[in-house]
């Protein structure tokens, strides 16, 4: 197949970026989307031209590093799929495909398709954990957790922190990301002690980092590669209200 690509090129954080046309020839349907970009980059490299910068690492949908907006949709057309797992058989010969970085105030562009997501780390640092040190843990089976609760916690814990939810949201809100961690820890017995302080601290940090508020449009859920449910956001709001009433 042959595709016409329009790819965002931006030299640095302060530079103005623009879409640049590239032709992708001999694309095999078995290629992943990123492998298709590898081939273009290999061509650019051989010509001595600056390769297109984009993030990726595991290339199997778990590290959360890859982060491309394809034809306006974070991670592209397949539901529940990171762009590194997207395959070219999903595209048609002759199609024009636009590739852009995540766009959000809290995720400034570093170069081309690479953005700075360190704000997510700061949100977790603010309270996304159980405050225990190594050494004092009781026996693993001393804390029974029902299968149903464990599964529910796991559904939320599956978040890969890619930031697609923020990129899809017109308010650039980090609510789906935050709510996943809050939901995981608020259903588990281990998370109870810091249940109120956690939600307050994480939301305050997200505000400080410039993420927007949630207006319940649901775009985040639609693009989440791990299909984290938006019901977590409602849970987070309840947790927050609960914390406020508890006077935290």
């Amino acid at each position: 197949m042959r595709l016409n690509l329009k790819i965002w090129r931006q030299a640095g954080p302060d530079g103005a970026g623009k879409l640049v046309d590239y032709a992708a020839d001999h694309v095999s349907p078995d290629m992943s989307f990123l492998e298709m970009l590898d081939v273009i980059n290999e061509r650019l490299v051989k010509q001595g031209e600056d390769a297109i910068s984009f993030d990726s690492d595991c290339r199997e949908g778990i590290c959360g590093m890859c982060s491309l907006v394809i034809n306006g949709v974070p991670h592209g057309p397949d539901r529940g799929t990171t762009v590194c797992q997207l395959h070219m058989r999903r595209f048609k010969d002759g199609e024009t495909v636009t590739i852009e970085p995540w766009r959000a105030r809290a995720f400034p562009v570093v170069k081309d398709l690479v953005v700075d997501r360190s704000a997510f780390d700061r949100i977790i640092a603010a309270g996304g954990y159980v405050s225990i040190n190594v050494g004092g843990a009781p026996d693993g089976n001393a804390i029974p957790v029902s299968k149903q609760v464990a599964e529910q916690a796991m559904d939320s814990a599956a978040c890969i922190g890619c930031g697609a939810c923020v990129a899809a949201c017109k308010n650039a809100s980090a609510h789906l990301f935050m709510s996943a961690k809050i939901a995981q820890l608020s259903v588990l017995p281990q998370g109870q002690v810091e249940r109120t302080t956690r939600v307050v601290a994480m939301i305050a940090q997200a505000d400080a980092d410039g993420f927007g508020s949630c207006s319940n449009e649901g775009e985040c859920e639609a693009v989440c590669p791990k299909e984290i449910p938006i019901s977590n956001i409602a849970r987070m709001s309840r947790e927050f209200t609960r914390a406020v009433f508890a006077g935290k």
Binding site: R89, V134, K147, M154
Partner: protein, 640 residues
């Protein structure tokens, strides 16, 4: 025959008491003094992340580095199947001793007993720690922790969180780490690549990194340095490892004097999705846990091209069940991989390329229903379907072995310190616990054991018992190392040739897979030892590395890693040539039993081969650490 460079410092006494006794004998750092010590931790995977968090909790001043944009993205995140621990929650006969025994045997009697015993002992604490952090491990209906079986063991001791165990364990460590960052105990430096080790007065005192965003060459000084930079599987180009995995940090430390042990011990995982074409950038693992329910088979007849559903039972060869009745589909990885290769070499491979075998879930689905299978392996089945466009609930998976893990690594003593004082090495980056073959679900165990439970003690001992005058980054040794790094970057950018970096890496991978892969011989290794330096010359004459050194330049990063692999690959092949026995994942065609199993030569090779760098293209010096087995008597491994 042990060399004077290699004192493993294994404590005396019975094996079960060694660690306790050592903990008592080690010096402690006064709590008030910990803040005065700075420790550099390179890597944020299970090993590095857990080490940095624990040292921060103890009160050390920690500087933590990684190449990804966040510590949470270290390659450990990709581990699927599970983590072992000798909890014996299943009441099926497990014990610390059995885990120890299985690991030494699984490693084909090429690991250091005392380290393995400690690993088995501490395994139980890891699970406790992770549960307390809120890691959502799989549970039984009564609320207790669930287990599954992994290869090389006849007990169920593997704890898991769906098919995302590594992710959940790493997020547990990452969250503890971020808590320390929040408290100011750990300073995090993401998107930094370590490019040199700084040695002052014979001790590791700092590192040189490239800031991957600005291109700046930065210097960091410390009282001790910990490398937890993962494995070198991507020397084969195609592997199950993440694409940024590299040997660079370990290799640069090696060039500064750290010995590299057993580089030829590489693990080929039996169940990966087969290669589909030249464009392929990595291979995807299908977790070993699938062998709990999947049955491996090929057609009995050569060249049988019927689709799998049309091949009746009597025409199928479930070769693992046939040859190894007691372990069946759960034989260790090296055995499963070699048997898959044999079946394909025999002309009975399946799929278009003939380089695949079936992993069939039909019987399991009939037995427990598709929903149960989905609950256990849903994400793996989905991953398979996305890559191959086949539905594994309906047709058997096609799988083939791929490079997955590297048992070799920097040599360390019982304290996890290399021969360079102050340089400690944890996780997959060291050589210590898995001998010539790692059992499934034991890497996560080792990484967390090293980081949470070993290094917090042993580094204290080092710091408390060593004179460490203050060193700053103005020291000449920092200047020299920074210049060294800058020069290499300039050289890469100056070649301005015509060949792609990826193209050369792919070519290196092909040499390694063909000649230093699943089966090795003196002939293939000698050939590789001629081809690797030739390719290295070509790289330095004709590679094209575009762009500037002063900002994000992924071509430059990649070229640096490939350049190091082109040096390291030679050492790997040389080590494989030197070891003319077969053991574990290292299979020398000249050394096999009549039925094709790996044949060890204990009289001549019961040692760790630790190599000392002498210059690029110059023969390294070999140091040997003799392996002594007081507990487990080496025998021909049998899984029949």
């Amino acid at each position: 025959m042990s060399s004077s460079k290699l004192d493993a410092k294994v404590p005396g006494g019975p094996i079960a008491d060694k660690w306790d006794r050592h903990k008592f004998e080690m010096k402690l750092v006064n709590p008030a003094n910990k803040r005065k010590y700075t420790v550099i931790v390179v890597g944020t995977g299970l090993a590095g992340g857990s080490a940095a968090a624990s040292l921060g909790e103890l009160g050390y001043n920690v500087l933590n580095f990684c190449i990804q944009d966040s510590p949470r993205r270290a390659h450990s995140i990709a581990a699927q199947g599970g983590i072992n621990a000798a909890k014996n929650y299943q009441n099926d006969g497990d014990s610390v001793y059995r885990l120890f025994y299985d690991t030494v045997k699984g490693g084909d009697y090429r690991s250091r007993e005392a380290n393995v015993y400690r690993l088995a002992q501490l395994s139980v604490n890891i699970i406790d720690q992770c549960v307390a952090q809120g890691v959502p491990f799989a549970r039984e209906y009564g609320g207790l922790l669930d287990n599954r079986s992994f290869g090389g063991a006849q007990v169920s001791r593997t704890f898991y969180a769906r098919g995302q165990t590594g992710q959940q364990l790493l997020l547990g460590a990452y969250q503890s780490l971020m808590r320390q960052v929040h408290q100011g105990a750990v300073r995090m430096f993401a998107r930094r690549e370590m490019l040199d080790l700084v040695i002052v007065d014979g001790k590791a005192r700092g590192i040189i990194v490239r800031n991957l965003i600005t291109g700046a060459i930065e210097r960091y000084a410390a009282d001790a340095v910990i490398l937890a930079t993962g494995g070198y599987g991507t020397v084969y180009y195609l592997s199950t490892n993440a694409v940024n995995s590299n040997v660079t940090a370990a290799w640069r430390a090696h060039k500064r004097g750290a010995l590299f042990a057993n580089p030829c011990y590489t693990q080929i995982h039996p169940t990966c999705i087969p290669v589909s074409g030249d464009h392929q950038s990595k291979l995807t693992l299908m977790s070993e846990s699938l062998r709990n329910d999947g049955r491996v088979w090929v057609p009995k007849k050569q060249g049988d091209k019927r689709p799998p559903e049309q091949i009746p039972e009597e025409d199928r060869d479930y070769y693992l069940e046939r040859k190894y009745p007691s372990f069946g589909n759960l034989v260790p990885r090296d055995v499963a991989s070699r048997n898959a290769k044999q079946a394909c070499d025999d002309g009975r491979g399946v799929g278009d390329s003939g380089l695949a075998v079936y992993l069939d879930f039909k019987d399991a689905i009939a037995r427990v229903g598709p929903e149960t299978i989905k609950a256990k392996y849903g994400n793996l089945f989905q991953m398979y379907a996305k890559i191959t466009d086949d539905d594994p609930y309906a047709v058997p998976m096609r799988i083939y072995p791929a490079i997955h893990y590297t048992m070799g690594g920097l040599w360390v003593d019982y304290n996890l310190m290399s021969n360079v004082p102050g340089l400690h090495v944890l996780g997959e980056a060291n050589f210590s616990d898995h001998g010539a073959n790692r059992l499934g679900a034991s890497a996560l165990m080792q990484g967390l054991c090293d980081g949470y439970f070993v290094i917090p003690y042993t580094i204290g001992h080092y710091l408390a018992s060593t004179a460490l005058p203050k060193v700053t980054t103005d020291h000449d040794a920092f200047g020299e190392a920074a210049d060294n790094v800058q020069q290499r970057i300039n050289q890469l950018l100056a070649v301005k040739g015509s060949r792609g970096i990826r193209e050369i890496h792919r070519e290196l991978g092909r040499i390694m897979w063909d000649d230093v892969g699943m089966a090795r011989s003196a002939q293939s290794l000698t050939r590789a030892l001629a081809r690797i330096p030739a390719l290295r010359d070509e790289f330095w004459h004709d590679v094209s590395v575009p762009g500037s050194p002063d900002n994000l330049n992924q071509s430059l990063e990649y070229a640096g890693r490939v350049a190091d692999y082109l040096e390291f690959a030679e050492l790997l092949a040389l080590d494989a040539l030197q070891r003319s026995e077969s053991c574990g994942g290292h299979f020398r065609e000249e050394s096999q039993t009549p039925d094709g199993e790996a044949l060890r030569d204990d009289d001549n090779f019961s040692y760790v081969a630790a190599w000392e760098f002498q210059g690029v293209g110059r023969a390294p010096a070999l140091h040997k650490e003799a392996l002594v087995f007081d507990e487990v008597h080496p025998t021909q491994r049998s899984y029949k």
